[in-house]
Symmetry: C2
């Protein structure tokens, strides 16, 4: 298993939860490798140097990456991460939600490590079909987001102002995990993280241990697969599939009701521990 | 106006389009400042040093940022960007779509520059209401994404496999632009960017000039506002508002039909210029 975590403060709620989670997986007998991107001083910026690319030549990122992968000339830091991803059966991706997405240092881990030919851009040797969305370079793995969020759960619910969490995370759940062939598990969220007390932390840690104990049995969020017959040659849903539905919702096989059920099962800091108890013990 | 652009290669389609766009705005008499993040070697990683924060103290990012802003102790690079944002009436945010979002160097521009107390976390002095979603620290500005995408347009359409572009960009359009009080314009997308020929580039540049000429008249994408009466005290849509609708779609005032109309009006590289003409002149 691979646990990737990004937070600038070693004493944060994020990193305290990571410690809890990793220790618990360890107790359960799993082999867990931790990538603490801040502690590693990870470089998140894609650059010609990643690909041993001649700076005099124009840089087509996708092509340069694929070529460097083939030749074994990707930079050492990228190759080390790819080895760990290859060896992992589960990826836990943990971060505080910043601007409705990953902190830059973590986004740049995906930008640099999940290159063309490794995570995607892989074809079926028999048919020549590009493997994407339900199949791909990372097939056979499960991936789960663990995220700490300042807002309250209701505001990320099915009709909450921030957008339903699962759809806000669609670019990661569908665009990264499902795209590369991994099974995305329902995100594990800790809400009200800016206001978490010691009691809140204990509850969140207990929920996380419970979730991790069940990792192998959790039903993934199911999206339609590229090559399962729902999409036409232009990768557009065929008319008889979810007729009339547009937007992100059209690509889920797991129903909205089931997704909300998932979210509720990872229930938040209860609403009675709120503004009245603003004694943060750890930063999100 | 402020034009923020992120691509590692000076000779890329992205940066060639930026040059075209900036030159055109200049011709139109606008004062445009360019932030070429790769050329600036922008640091995208939020860290205690941003806030002159005592490393012995726990770092609560939101609080530390707000305090540093108040005291004027944010790091120089952040303050310089904030000055430019304050002075701008329009922000153009240009990037190749990597993993369905911004390259890390650009995500980290928002992470570091759009801090608590500047872009958000601002309250109405009279009522004490937090200003968010339709109002906020950056009210009165327009913001527009310009993005180059390897995929074809149909696959980002209302029923395309990647998810409808506008909803894939929801974390930026709604979560950053609308959240901070800016008016998000329909994204300007160039599809098939990995395969763009000189002819494709000329067409994309012409479309971009046309779009920029109309900047002041373009109808923004309209989202519901936090304080407009549609949300209750928990920031959840009231039952009579878009009854039964869940997910991202519930927060748009602009109808799906109008949004698709917008996207079609920024029509893509036509599909007859495709695989058959793979002579890239510029990288996306």
């Amino acid at each position: 298993m691979l646990w990737i975590v990004a937070h600038p403060d070693r004493r944060s709620l994020t990193r305290a939860l990571a410690d809890e989670g990793v220790a618990h997986l360890d107790e359960l007998g799993h082999d867990v490798r931790v990538r603490d991107l801040y502690a590693m001083d990870w470089n998140p910026v894609v650059d010609a140097a990643d690909f041993a690319h001649d700076p005099a030549e124009r840089l087509l990122v996708g092509e340069a990456a694929k070529e460097a992968l083939r030749r074994g000339t990707l930079s050492d830091d990228i190759r080390a991460e790819q080895e760990l991803v290859r060896a992992a059966d589960v990826l836990i991706v943990q971060f505080p939600l910043w601007w409705y997405g990953m902190p830059a240092i973590l986004k740049g881990w995906f930008d640099r490590v999940f290159v063309n030919g490794f995570a995607f851009g892989v074809t079926d040797p028999d048919t020549g079909t590009v493997l994407r969305y339900g199949d791909g370079g990372l097939r056979g793995r499960r991936a789960m987001i663990v995220t700490t969020i300042g807002a309250r759960e209701a505001a990320f619910g099915p009709r909450g102002i921030h957008g339903e969490l699962e759809e806000v995370l669609f670019p990661i759940q569908h665009g990264i995990f499902h795209y590369t062939g991994m099974d995305p598990l329902p995100p594990f969220a800790v809400y009200g993280a800016d206001r978490a007390t010691a009691h809140d932390f204990a509850r969140a840690a207990a929920r996380l241990r419970e979730r991790l104990s069940a990792l192998a049995d959790i039903e993934p969020v199911r999206f339609r697969t590229q090559n399962g017959g729902d999409y036409d040659a232009d990768l557009v849903l065929r008319p008889h599939v979810a007729p009339g539905v547009t937007g992100l919702a059209a690509h889920y096989l797991t129903s909205a009701t089931e997704r909300h059920g998932n979210l509720q099962s990872v229930s938040p800091v209860p609403s009675d521990l709120g503004e009245g108890r603003r004694t943060p013990v750890v930063s999100p």
